[in-house]
Symmetry: C2
Subunit: 196 residues, 2 copies
């Protein structure tokens, strides 16, 4: 019924890898075929067009993200700890070079030149992340787990920009540790001070 590893999953995995390193126009079906070990034409059987392939990839990327967020919210009650976990997730990905960049950050840069179907899926991803972070900010502020200096949705956008900016800086400098260097003070700023 459900295999551990299907060809279609392998194609998506290698696409994600290629996408992270060079963007939408930076890879071809030939590249995927080499990694997966099947012929170019066979990829078209699973994903008729390149747009289908990347659209599906981004859709699943968002769905997986939504699922992970659900688990995180259940396991971690404190809003600050949620933000720390989110930051640590990316810190780990960047540091061990497994997924050193966000697929949607890559595609967002290319947004104006992307096929519309892919573009809308990318904006959907950012809508989801933004509103999730805003909800975390709002809840954390109300419960005294976060100290905000601006409106929750502004703090959410700022935090998101810091994470994605730090991701770019780490890549531009070729130094993974830059990510944590930037995020540590950013999280400290959101930490409530103990009254004394």
């Amino acid at each position: 019924m459900s295999n551990l590893s299907t060809t279609s999953d392998d194609i998506l995995a290698s696409t994600r890898h290629l996408l992270i390193s060079g963007g939408y126009n930076g890879f071809s079906y030939a590249d995927i075929s080499e990694i997966v070990g099947i012929r170019k034409a066979s990829i078209h059987h699973h994903f008729p067009s390149k747009v289908d392939l990347v659209r599906e990839l981004v859709k699943r990327y968002r769905e997986d993200g939504q699922a992970s967020v659900g688990v995180l919210e259940q396991k971690v009650p404190n809003a600050l700890d949620i933000l720390k976990a989110y930051a640590n997730h990316w810190a780990a990905c960047i540091e061990d070079a497994s997924r050193p960049y966000c697929v949607c950050a890559m595609l967002a840069s290319e947004l104006p030149s992307l096929p519309t179907e892919v573009a809308t899926e990318v904006t959907n991803f950012f809508r989801f992340i933004s509103s999730w972070l805003a909800s975390v900010m709002e809840r954390g502020s109300k419960q005294g787990e976060l100290s905000l200096t601006s409106a929750p949705h502004v703090e959410a956008e700022t935090f998101l920009a810091t994470v994605y900016g730090a991701m770019l800086s780490a890549r531009a400098n070729g130094k993974p540790e830059v990510f944590s260097m930037i995020l540590e003070p950013a999280l400290n700023r959101l930490t409530p001070t103990v009254s004394h």
Copy 2:
């Protein structure tokens, strides 16, 4: 001696435009030829290869940046005002859609797949911006024009990440105003509080 508009400048200008919208692999000599109004082969006369073209573009982009920074430092004495001017520069570019994204942000995302000669020129740009911002932070801190909560070079990287992250957010949301929304509180945070 020096024309107001040379073909080579037109090629560079259209390349910048194309680069901002779709990255290194998102444009071709055919695209440039259409915009500039000369044949593909004629572009090769000015820039033998695509690598030459983009390398030269990024080199000039950094040089122009260095010149602008020089002028800014002369005209504006206050460190906070310099940071505000830098932020306003990008806010204006994004808002009037003239250059709604940084060429080097685009190329930094693609860094792992870029020809090495272009890649080194891109990292040079970020080295320059980082160290310039660090010097502004340090000077501003010493003269009481900026209130830092971390070491100057950390604040510099944080500010840079915020600017570039905000640029990406503006693009991802399709809302230019998001940039200023993020940068305003970021600058407030650096503003010294008047003692009373």
